[in-house]
Symmetry: C2
Subunit: 394 residues, 2 copies
DNA sequence: TTGATTCTTTTCCGCCGTCAATGAAAGAAA
DNA sequence: TTTCTTTCATTGACGGCGGAAAAGAATCAA
């Protein structure tokens, strides 16, 4: 067996250095003066923060002399060398494990997935370890160390403690997951809730870059929501936040597994849509793909179900916007495959329900590939590696 | 006319000093070691931060040797000298102006109110200036300077800019209120949204002390909500947040002025209750007091209206709890006069609609006196005076 | 070559907060 | 009474971080 790889420490020991690095990471190549302006620091501080990062190879000077203003000394851009470090992100769902190998810029290099052998912690841990070791072998091919692992699980996760408090899908309780995976891999492990992990990825590498207040809404098997307020991901006082799936849209609507009627999730999540399409058409629709095909073919009953789902999603998003006033809401999730069927309803319902200036909030859709969840997990690992504020500033 | 009083600068020029002071302000008398522990600073830093504050008279040693542990040198408690500085808080409602004179601990010394002469900015400004000058005269009697004025207005207010962007009740738009009041009073003025101001008061002087995530829900002429997330009051990217009043509770419910049906405000705010009681009983009920009396006397129609209102409020609070996961929700507002009529419904609806650990959130009611809104405004003035982070840390 | 302009680095300095040692105020033990 | 122990508070030295200002570097224009 391979000797346990030793990870190195990220050479940003001052807050300013971490801030500078994340600024470059998120905002692409930047000149030193740009960094100073964006980070609110002096030029001198930037020089001092950048040097050790360049020496350690995390930042590199960029030759790109594109379109400079013809006068004065040309500015030297600096960018993150994505290839300097690798990370592994793992997402454990109810029926499979997805893992990706990413670089420091969170670009996916390799993706793998295997079916979940069973739901008990032990077989899942073994499967995760196997998958991680596969990716570590791949990483050897790049000649670069893997510096950390992120694991994303749905449910109540305490990132700081590295524990899964409660995962209904997997039926886990108070499992010290970070410690367990660290033992089998020898690498630092960050455990976080899946939606929060996806939100971190958007905040650092996606459509949330530079925003201090935004939300990520995921539509799929469930309906989730990650929130960033004051530049930090919201975790809630009791470890749970963003439960948009249980915002009640219609108190006379279908029964939800939470016991109430007409939750967003009971109207617009995949299982609810499948059930509603079956009801509306009388056809033996088995899964979301079949429901989608039926609607695409023009079945009026199925189309109506999707329209209602879109309306529910739009209302739920408006509720979030009314309460927190985000600058942008990023809509994502497997359910977006049906986006053409309910886009209009989402926007209409949002516009009708958003109050006052909350309506100025920008709605953005972002198709979610199957490995995106795992990429979110990798983003949390990158965040931990850089060691900025836990759930760091945008 | 009195010569314009000069205000002094608060002698806390380092972040640590401001943090220490607000810690003592919120957590009552503290020994130096307590401060160090709470603020996460070294004992030495505390000593250095405290000295200038004592020399300037803002902090005083307290002789209180209560219950000390019989061993070792007794600890010296330090507390804020509330009488060291005075502040004025002004709340402008749709039909009156309420002003209070408070001390540095936000204890009300004098309260005044006058009817609103008209809604145009000019007469309101004159009335505010008159009221402020009355309170300044009172302050002379205490022999202490007034160090700042806070003004609270409902609607979209940009505190940093000191502008009222839009106040529907008063029909104001883009009014540089802080600047205008500063001109007539010569004192520093802080302008903020009324619910946010009340939230600041709870955060620094009330039931939100020490909590990094909580919400304040106000029930009365409207239904509002102030949020504190990550220790800071949420203002929203577009200046508006906490619009809990327009969370839809029942899409088939009564029409709301926002254009939708069944908003919390259209069910549980005072005007909605009055209208519903009138409908239910056929009696010419004119205002909330009459509706309340009717229900207290046992009229079943009226009682049912209050029960429905309580249910709506409970559901709305659950929505907030599900989304943000606050540690506590403080329920307040004039509407609480009817608390006995809907307390049970609020709690039941909350318990039924709160999902998972969000239900652990603590519901607290806090009776709201008529001058509490103005006190909130004073709290914002105190906050600005101390100059901690804008919408400072808990 | 000199100058103008702009970006970057260097050098110096101030400031803040920690560390470690010292001092202070009690009660307990001798 | 004296000394010890314990805990709280203060002092002074130290180190680190970030800013200001001046010097250096790279380019084009005259």
């Amino acid at each position: 067996m391979r000797s346990t790889p030793r990870t190195e420490a990220f050479p940003a020991h001052t807050p300013a250095a971490a801030q500078i690095f994340t600024t470059v990471l998120s905002h692409g190549p930047l000149t030193r003066s740009d960094m100073a302006a964006r980070a609110g620091l002096s030029a001198a501080a930037v020089t001092k923060a950048v040097r050790p990062l360049i020496e350690a190879g995390y930042l590199v000077e960029e030759a790109g002399d594109e379109a400079r203003p013809a006068l004065g000394r040309p500015a030297n851009s600096v960018r993150v060398d994505g290839g300097r470090a690798l990370f592994i992100g793992v997402k454990v769902t109810g029926d499979e494990i997805i893992a990706v190998l990413t670089d420091l810029c969170c670009r996916i290099r390799v993706a793998r997935h295997v079916p979940l052998p069973a739901r008990e912690p032990q077989p899942v841990l073994t499967a995760v370890a196997d998958l991680v070791h596969e990716l570590l072998a791949e990483a050897d091919g790049f000649g670069v160390q893997v510096q950390g692992i992120g694991v994303a699980v749905s449910g109540d996760v305490d990132r700081a403690a590295g524990e899964v408090r409660l995962s209904p899908f997997l039926e886990w309780r108070d499992l010290p997951l970070a410690e367990l995976v660290e033992m089998t891999t020898g690498l630092p492990v960050t455990v976080d809730n899946d939606v929060r992990a996806l939100t971190v990825a958007e905040q650092w590498f996606g459509a949330g870059v530079g925003l201090s207040d935004f939300a990520v809404v995921t539509v799929g098997a469930g309906i989730g929501c990650g929130l960033v307020v004051h530049g930090k991901v919201v975790s809630g006082a009791h470890g749970v936040a963003g439960e948009i799936g249980h915002v009640v849209i219609d108190p006379t609507g279908p029964l939800c597994h939470c016991g109430n009627r007409g939750c967003a999730e009971a109207i617009a999540a995949d299982p609810a849509i499948v059930a509603a399409v079956r009801d509306a058409t009388g056809l033996p629709v088995a899964d979301a793909a079949q429901a989608l095909e039926l609607a695409r073919r023009g079945d009026p009953g199925a189309r109506e179900v999707y329209a209602r789902a879109g309306d529910a999603i739009g209302r739920a998003i408006a509720t979030v916007a009314n309460l927190m006033g985000p600058e942008r809401v990023i809509i994502s999730g497997e359910g977006l495959a049906a986006y053409d069927l309910f886009a209009e309803q989402i926007r209409d319902a949002f516009a009708a329900s958003a109050f006052g200036t909350a309506a100025r909030c920008d709605l953005l859709t972002r198709p979610l590939l199957f490995d995106e969840w795992a990429r979110g997990a990798a983003a949390t690992a990158i965040q931990s590696f850089i060691g900025g504020p836990p759930h760091g500033t945008g």
